[in-house]
């Protein structure tokens, strides 16, 4: 099977084409029990194992299971992670939960199903059905609700938080850049492919540069499982939270232990499905978005103005460079930036924006997409030759609109044409400025103030962990 992960992830640990059942070297913890140790093990026709004691008693043995967390914490293969992932996070799983809900209808044990759709996925589906992005959102809302989903939100809303936090984090880092050599450049953190690659390959060297701000998906996780649950008077595990993303790697992000609420034994985002998987759901249901009667948007956790969804300025990858740059120019140097001029460097996926005053460069930002450009950035950093204050790093060439989970071109359509179309639809939405979002400002004052500074920080930020290269004898490569 061809891997769905971004190229960056496929590149780390490349020679493994194993699945956990075959050759995984991850040690599995076995709970040892006291008692006599003489027994036979019998393998049944169905592959299950039975322990047969001396007295003839039979006892079914538990299977050793490798969880996705085991995979992510291991420096071994990535293909294993994928096979585990497919069983835990897929549209099949969403269907399973929805079916179970119908069975449990009368018992009160139903889960509240929340779907948060990313703006990039919306644009990808909009291109397929020749609809506007907002119209796509309204019809997707109807489609999901017909299936039994209770709420459909927009991760553009949580992205506003992510952009504001990135702006603030940058100012703090800029202020301590003299005493902290790793304060700058600040590297954007929204791309999980990039994060996974950095943790596995460049570990402690690169991680301090990476912004601690959570991605829009994971801030949505906080909003849904912390804010929304309280509002609805529900425990977090009573909500099944699904996100629709342009990217397969987002499934890995949702599975990180950092985003698991231990107290309630639940993930902040339970399941991630890609834009392509939504298309498959539509096909399986035998419906076309063109024929679905639109439904009103759930505005509570959506970036909306009336019935129209809004967008953020800048790149189709969230506009991190744009927002951090304009904010920093104003706050640090009193410059109101009207328009950003992107200068293409080596290739279209390496662009630079500079702020100059009297011939002196005050700020130098870059957008660096795709593995080859990430390589050059990392090497520049290692040689102490990076001139940047901030870099918007994305694993996919052309960024998130071109993510691996997006819809593929139809016949006669080139990838380039499709990408252009998706980009136009994405950018056709009206812009919203994070700084002027009154609803978000209100949530900062009410919700985030009420939980205290430390909890608020945890809800909006995260941390990274270098993955030690395994020195296990079995994995030594000759």
């Amino acid at each position: 099977m061809a891997s769905h992960f971004s190229g960056v992830l496929q590149l780390t640990d490349l020679d493994d084409f194993i699945t956990p059942s075959q050759e995984c070297v991850k040690p599995v913890k076995v709970d040892k029990k006291q008692g006599k140790s003489v027994a036979k093990i019998q393998i049944e026709d169905d592959g299950s194992y039975f322990q047969v004691n001396q007295d003839g008693q039979r006892q079914k043995l538990e299977k050793a299971k490798i969880t996705l967390n085991d995979c992510l914490a291991c420096s071994g293969c990535i293909t294993s992670a994928e096979s585990v992932l497919i069983t835990q996070q897929s549209h099949e799983e969403l269907y399973r939960v929805l079916r179970l809900n119908k069975v449990l209808l009368s018992s009160g044990e139903q889960k509240v199903v929340v779907v948060s759709v990313s703006p990039q996925s919306r644009a990808s589906l909009a291109a397929r059905y020749s609809l506007s992005s907002s119209e796509t959102a309204r019809r997707l809302t109807a489609f999901f609700k017909n299936l039994g989903v209770h709420y459909v939100f927009d991760t553009g809303f949580s992205r506003t938080f992510s952009l504001l936090e990135s702006q603030r984090e940058f100012l703090k880092r800029f202020a301590r850049k003299e005493e902290d050599k790793k304060a700058l450049p600040m590297l954007a953190s929204a791309c999980p492919g990039w994060i996974c690659y950095a943790e596995k390959t460049h570990g402690d060297f690169i991680l301090p540069y990476i912004s601690t701000t959570r991605s829009p998906q994971q801030i949505m996780g906080s909003l849904v499982k912390s804010f929304f649950t309280k509002q609805q008077g529900l425990d977090p595990q009573k909500i099944y939270h699904v996100t629709v993303m342009p990217c397969y790697d987002k499934k890995l992000e949702a599975s990180r232990p950092d985003f698991y609420i231990n107290e309630f034994e639940t993930r902040e985002v339970d399941c991630v499905i890609t834009s392509g998987e939504v298309l498959r759901m539509l096909e399986e249901e035998g419906v076309s978005l063109s024929d679905i009667e639109p439904a009103p948007l759930d505005t509570m956790l959506s970036n909306v103005c009336g019935e129209e969804l809004l967008c953020h300025a800048g790149s189709g990858s969230g506009g991190y460079l744009h927002h951090v740059y304009t904010h920093a120019a104003k706050q640090l140097f009193g410059v109101e930036v009207e328009e950003l001029t992107y200068k293409t460097l080596k290739n279209k996926d390496f662009q630079e924006v500079t702020l100059e005053k009297d011939g002196i460069i005050l700020l130098r930002f870059a957008a660096t997409y795709g593995f080859r450009n990430i390589q050059n950035l990392v090497q520049k950093l290692k040689r102490g030759k990076s001139p940047y204050h901030f870099v918007e790093v994305m694993a996919c060439p052309s960024g998130c609109l071109n993510g691996g989970g997006q819809l593929k071109p139809v016949a006669d359509q080139s990838n380039k044409e499709l990408l252009q179309q998706v980009e136009e639809l994405y950018k056709a939405e009206h812009l919203s400025a994070p700084e002027q979002d009154t609803r978000v400002a209100e949530l900062y004052q009410t919700w985030l103030e009420s939980v205290g500074e430390e909890t608020a920080r945890q809800l909006l930020h995260t941390q990274y962990h270098a993955v030690e290269k395994s020195t296990n004898g079995l994995t030594i490569k000759w």
Binding site: L11, T201, K346, N347, N376
Partner: protein, 333 residues
Amino acid sequence: MKDTLAPVLRLSAHPDSRCWYVAWSPKGSLLASCGGDRAVRIWGKEGDNWECKCVLSDGHQRTVRKVAWSPCGNYLASASFDATTCIWKKKNDDFECLTVLEGHENEVKCVAWAPSGNLLATCSRDKSVWIWEVDEEDEYECVSVVNSHTQDVKHVVWHPTQELLASASYDNKVCIYKEEDDDWECRATLEGHTSTVWSLSFDPEGQRLASCSDDRTVKIWKECTPGDGDGSTDGAWKCVCTLSGFHSRTVYDVAWDRLTGALATACGDDGVRIFKEDTTADPEQPVFYLSAHMPKAHSQDVNCVAWHPQEAGLLATCSDNGEIAIWNYHSDA
């Protein structure tokens, strides 16, 4: 056979180790060798003898698998199992390590300089082929990472005149790459070998490509031109000749002599063979015959064959026994 392959001299180049590869400098005044002893050695002619001028031993932590000279002859690149590629700059009689190219996940298997000298290609067991660009300040930047192979990539070689790159792999395939927009992509996949493809060599004009394999054959591939009338797409390559029945073991290397057009092979049966083309045959169905054969050229596997760039018929070979041998090939044909 009137044609002869006569020994000229033998050097114990990497004693107690393997000698993996040899490369002549563009003018042919120096020969670089590399081996399992993690060192690169530079050999130069003194009178009738070849002497070791220089040992570059501090660049790599593991086996140095291949070396390549830049077209100007002022730089040397070395590819190592330590996952890095070193770029060495020639300073008078010495070499200094200019930069270390990092990025491959594991063993780098080969390095090759494009004819312009501005591009460098590397390949690795990590299945990827990387293309690097060199600027005026000797800074190297990665311009592309291509993942067209499904296994270890053994060899990369540039077309003699165009910016076209070929790679050979453990997946039995050869890939041909070209720049498209601002990235590199695989334009053609050459399938036909039934085992690992170990090495590649373009003919002097760049119209044909020779590949050698663990399947004990050498294949000659020709670029299809739109005028061929066989419906093949632009940029595709087809196999026009297979040399089988000549080698009793893996063919590790193949080299097409730019001066004589002869094709040399290095074989796991310790032999060195020279093939010549029958000039009377149909160019669409070329015929090669064995012109010279040195059965026990070395006491162990022959790893590499390299024709001297200026002296016709002068051939360097190296072996698992750590030796370099230099031969004189003479043909009456």
